[in-house]
């Protein structure tokens, strides 16, 4: 029988790793993701989980250890936060290019300077062009579910890509929420044992990561691009399967909340979606025609889903919890992708970035009300005044 428990996001991620029967884990401490490794270390020490637990000497080493382990045919997990994610940056491209589908559990954290512990999505968002599957969870349950879903998607032989399963630091990683833990047999049915097509094996020796010629470089890039192109179909299949087996109701890429009759929406990923839902409910009660659209995967970016859904509205406020200094829209990263997705639509909504939740700041209800007012005024005026608003620091 599935059972309901109360877990933090970190504990939920650790539980998911246990259910996935992870075989090699490599840790290095950095808050807030550390709590995932603390839980896993306990499980390994207690004999609950039969896995090799390796202490890395830094994040670059962590990624290298799991790269080797997963290349040798073990289901592997590592993770990090903030500057730890960026310290390992060199390894992201070879792992994706080598088509080794390991998983990284990330509880996000602001990058320096100078040393901010708070949640911010810039760390993992900065890796988005390396060929990793990337997405955020809103609550501990989704962190748990995404871990299993991502292993299954990444290990599919049509995909074979590594995955970053992200949750917002503290807001998800350290605030307990209800998590339904399934039966082990259900997970075993959903997630077959890991099988790499060409594992490192002394009986059938293969070379991973050899030097290639410059004229082979494009072909390697093209293979990785093709794998990313093939991923959305697999994600749709896997989410269907997950929903059926575990009684969930996930949209594969883009979830709509109270969008019936909505003129404007918040477009958001991660923990702050929960506050945004409350804001939408309260605003709806007052007659404001607003809804919420939540993104579940940044990579592969669901261009068609975003275009089809967002083109129905008059205004879209993209809540950005990451920075893109000097970018085309002068704000965060998501607006670039949103506007590019909408470009070919005959009807395009007004759009803007709302910079909110940076450095670990909360995004309280009053901020969402203010954003709604900005969008509402833009609809009346038929024009969005600016492409970016730093919420709380600017007049409309």
């Amino acid at each position: 029988m599935a059972k309901e428990v109360v877990l933090s996001g970190c504990a939920a991620s650790a539980q998911a790793a246990k259910y996935a029967r992870v075989e090699v884990i490599c840790s290095y401490p950095i808050r807030p993701y550390t709590a995932i490794m603390m839980e896993l270390a306990k499980m390994v020490a207690n004999g609950e989980l039969d896995a090799e637990f390796v202490h890395g000497e830094g994040e670059h080493a962590q990624l290298s250890v799991v790269f080797g382990a997963a290349a040798a045919g073990a289901r592997a997990l590592t993770g990090s936060s903030g500057v730890g994610v960026t310290y390992a940056f060199e390894t992201y491209s070879p792992i994706a290019g080598g088509r080794v589908p390991l998983q990284m559990a990330i509880a996000d954290r602001a990058l320096d300077p100078p040393g901010d512990f708070g949640s911010e999505q810039t760390d993992a968002m900065s890796t988005r062009d390396q060929g990793w599957i990337l997405g955020w969870a809103e609550d501990p349950q989704e962190a748990f579910d995404n871990s299993l879903i991502n292993y299954r998607v990444g290990e599919d032989h049509r995909v074979l890509l590594p995955q970053m399963v992200c949750q917002d630091g503290y807001f998800v990683s350290h605030i307990p929420g209800k998590v339904v833990l399934p039966e082990q047999s259900q997970v075993d049915e959903f997630l077959p044992p890991y099988k790499l097509p060409h594992p490192l094996d002394p009986h059938h020796p293969v070379s991973h990561g050899p030097q290639i010629r410059p004229d082979q470089g494009t072909i390697m890039d093209l293979q990785r691009a093709q794998a990313m192109l093939d991923t959305p179909k697999v994600i749709r299949e896997v989410i269907d399967d997950y929903n059926r087996l575990f009684g969930r109701n996930y949209a594969p890429f883009v979830e709509e909340f109270m969008t019936d009759g909505a003129e404007m929406v918040f477009f958001i990923q991660g923990a702050h979606a929960m506050t945004a839902r409350h804001a939408v409910r309260h605003l709806r009660a007052k007659g404001v025609k607003i809804g919420l659209v939540k993104l579940r995967f940044v990579r592969p970016w669901p261009t068609e889903d975003v275009a089809n859904i967002l083109s129905k509205f008059k205004a879209v406020g993209v809540i950005e919890t990451s920075t893109s200094y000097g970018g085309a829209m002068r704000g965060g990263n998501l607006l670039h992708e949103v506007r590019a997705s909408l470009y070919d639509c005959p009807q395009r909504p007004l759009t803007t970035s709302f910079m909110a939740g940076l450095g670990g700041e909360m995004v309280p209800l009053k901020d969402f009300y203010w954003m709604a007012e900005v969008m509402s005024n833009a609809i009346k005026a038929g024009k969005m005044k600016r492409n970016v608003y730093w919420v709380g620091f600017e007049e409309e």
């Binding site: 088509r99 020796p205 293969v206 070379s207 990561g209 050899p210 290639i212 093209l222 093709q226």
Partner: protein, 108 residues
């Protein structure tokens, strides 16, 4: 699907059977500043050089029972010299040119 000419195909993730055929276009031996030199009298066949070489430039010649060095691809990292358990490996300076410059016929 993309059209990739037959002669340009690359295996998935560039994972190839080992040991791979040498690639004439990507010779790395000319990156070397020092080369490892083996004294076969001292070698105790511990295989450390063969195991540790990141580029498989030490292979065992089973007929002669001795490690064989690949001058064409050894980059001169000298990990083998460092790991050698018997003192059979030492290093020798490679840049014996009058002006100290390595000359390459081709960039790769």
């Amino acid at each position: 699907m993309f059209n990739i000419p037959k002669d340009k195909e690359v295996p998935l993730g560039c994972i190839t059977p080992a040991p791979v055929t040498e690639q004439p276009m990507m010779i790395t031996g000319n990156w070397r500043e020092y080369r490892p030199v083996i004294d076969n009298e001292k070698c105790n066949l511990c295989m450390s050089c063969i195991v540790y070489c990141p580029d498989a430039c030490w292979q065992l010649n089973e007929a002669e029972d001795e490690p064989v060095w690949n001058a064409k691809y050894c980059k001169g990292c000298l990990i083998c010299v460092n790991e050698c358990t018997s003192g059979a490996l030492s290093k020798a300076y490679e840049l014996d040119f009058a002006d100290g410059v390595v000359r390459l016929e081709k960039p790769f």
